[in-house]
Symmetry: C2
Subunit: 430 residues, 2 copies
Amino acid sequence: MLYLTGNILYMKDRKTLCTQENGCLAIDEDGRVAGVYSGEEFAKQITVREGDTQVDYGDRLLIPGMTDLHVHAPQYAFRGLGMDLQLLEWLEGFAFPEEMRYAETEYAGRAYQIFAEDLRRSVTTRACVFATVHLESSLLLADLLDQSGVITYVGKVNMDRMGPEELCENVQDSIDDTVRFVEETVRRCSYTKPMITPRFAVSCSDELMRKLGDLRRRYNLPVQSHLSENRQEIEKIRELYPNTKFYGEAYDQNDLFGDGYPAVMAHCVYSSPQEIERMLERGVYIAHCPNSNFSLSSGMAPVRDYWEQGLNIGLGTDVAGGFSLSMLRAIQDTVTVSKLYQACMDEHAEHLSVWEAFYLATMGGGSFFGKVGSFLPGYDADVLVLDDSNLLCPVERSLEERLERLIYLAESDALCAKYVKGRMIYQASS
Amino acid sequence: MLYLTGNILYMKDRKTLCTQENGCLAIDEDGRVAGVYSGEEFAKQITVREGDTQVDYGDRLLIPGMTDLHVHAPQYAFRGLGMDLQLLEWLEGFAFPEEMRYAETEYAGRAYQIFAEDLRRSVTTRACVFATVHLESSLLLADLLDQSGVITYVGKVNMDRMGPEELCENVQDSIDDTVRFVEETVRRCSYTKPMITPRFAVSCSDELMRKLGDLRRRYNLPVQSHLSENRQEIEKIRELYPNTKFYGEAYDQNDLFGDGYPAVMAHCVYSSPQEIERMLERGVYIAHCPNSNFSLSSGMAPVRDYWEQGLNIGLGTDVAGGFSLSMLRAIQDTVTVSKLYQACMDEHAEHLSVWEAFYLATMGGGSFFGKVGSFLPGYDADVLVLDDSNLLCPVERSLEERLERLIYLAESDALCAKYVKGRMIYQASS
């Protein structure tokens, strides 16, 4: 057993924050939460045996790790740049030119090394990651992510139109490379798994989409893509897929929309009622990416409405449409956009509270990976150890207040240690 | 003379970013910019004499310091808390209870010490600061700000209604204490100056407002307050000031609206055309506070529209309605809100670019303090030295790109040194 002592906070459901001052988090040999105990309970009920490990984090805060449901690894190199453009111009001006560089594995190695290391040092413990179309560098990314210890799904991207020639594959190569990517990743990696990753329906022909659906079935893989992000994009889908009633149907017609398997769609800023209904039927996850949605002037997703309808929702940083890799920032931005949606679009739409957004970042997105994002018994023990001693305050604050302050004010040095499924994968040098 | 060498970037007007790679910023004995030189020009034209100082900042970036046009020092203690409320409830639930603590100078000393030190370590070189109603602790704040070296205006707050009893002054005490605050601050401080600071028209009676106007004239002081922040607040003003056609007239009728003297009004989210017209006539400054405006669900100010009309605009953090003391974050948030305004409120309203927002944070707000916020000759030499080496990148970036990345991604450790009017007031321990 592994025993971590400190101040423990986690959501147990959509509405309830649990706190345990000076508590103990017990983690079993399989990396799962065995229990959360008060100091007194721990002293009375638990016998620490030989071979057990106990780590005392003192006055620090222990919270569940966070799931980034949508992030583009190759775009990390230009995060914070080109933010004055909208989606389609930004793809042409920034994303595509950068992604072309990943044809060279030497460049990919250098760039992905930075990404994987910064991800390891972040509050993210699980992630769904886009690579590029390139097989070799995508495998390189899979290896680096695997070494980071963060548990990820990663996809070699597929696209065969509406991009620069260098990024447009022919269908058979795209499928063959995807088969190799899937098989190699499964063979080589422990913590990284493959995922079917059509870039978005705009950049995939019917034939490519159909064959990706076949592949998905053959290997029983999950899917990630983009959906209803930007008004111009949705117009293009109407032209390109005249036989669909809504954007998501382009995926659904090709068995890429979560019919009995996990699928996550990024954005959903402008999903129609029909699209929402289909997503509910299929259990499709929405990766809500507020930073990207304001940075690329896409708009504000009505997340409260999705939440009330019972959709599966998590958060994504969407680097580099979003400029920040921090899931704490994603929580902030979720609340920000939700408030502005209320103030400007629909005064009856109660905004998401900071704890509802915290839920989305932990349990909401975590459930895509199983029992992840809480400290309820049986959940995978993904743990962040946070230090708020830099945030000087003239009065004592409750645990809840301390975590709220960290969500709004923490810089990256607040993270002292990070565990994924009970394994420590990061420890700050102090 | 003081010569700072490094990579120099600054706005020279609303539209033009100037860059000088490996340049030199020359600063005269009065702390003013004497010139910006290329390395070659510097070598050829400048003779460094005995008594001159030269500091080589290598590959770092040198940019103008930033002006925070609106910040509440006593609220710094609860920044990042209570962010799920709207203005009037937030005042009652968080701001007023915290401000009541400042009746005790012991508490005020501890809290203001933290604020003043964090302000010194921030990218802010000039600020307009609210204290509380309390004379002694407001003087204490003035002293601490003066010691920080940041050049500030600071105001003892005036209010006589619509708050808890403990914060509501009687009119004569309020005026007497303000006289003492003004005279003492002028006498004691070098870098801190007093400012007339009615909390907002809601919390000031006609009599108090009138007498503050008299005081303002007597000492020829500038004014700061709040304006048209929140819809409920504007409703209240209509009730309380039935003889006004718009909110700002409550100040203007009492000679507190910039008629021949500097005045800055925070927020202006919902200013009517008439209010805007009066502000243009008077030259009133708008302190645009985007973080506060989304955090308290106030709304989105149409800043592009104000900008096109030629209003004086700068940025404010509005701690703790805004949760961040960082003016880099204020730049980000200005762009964010402007993009969402375009995406959701008025698609014809071109959003502010990152450089336009950078202008607002430097020259825009800086002009409230004189020739401040640029490196044009004769401007006060407020200089930030920024290090972006933590933001690893696999390719070389232009100076413009490096600054854009810093605006979006810098944490507080990016600031290496800070000069105000040629005096170094902060240097990071390395």
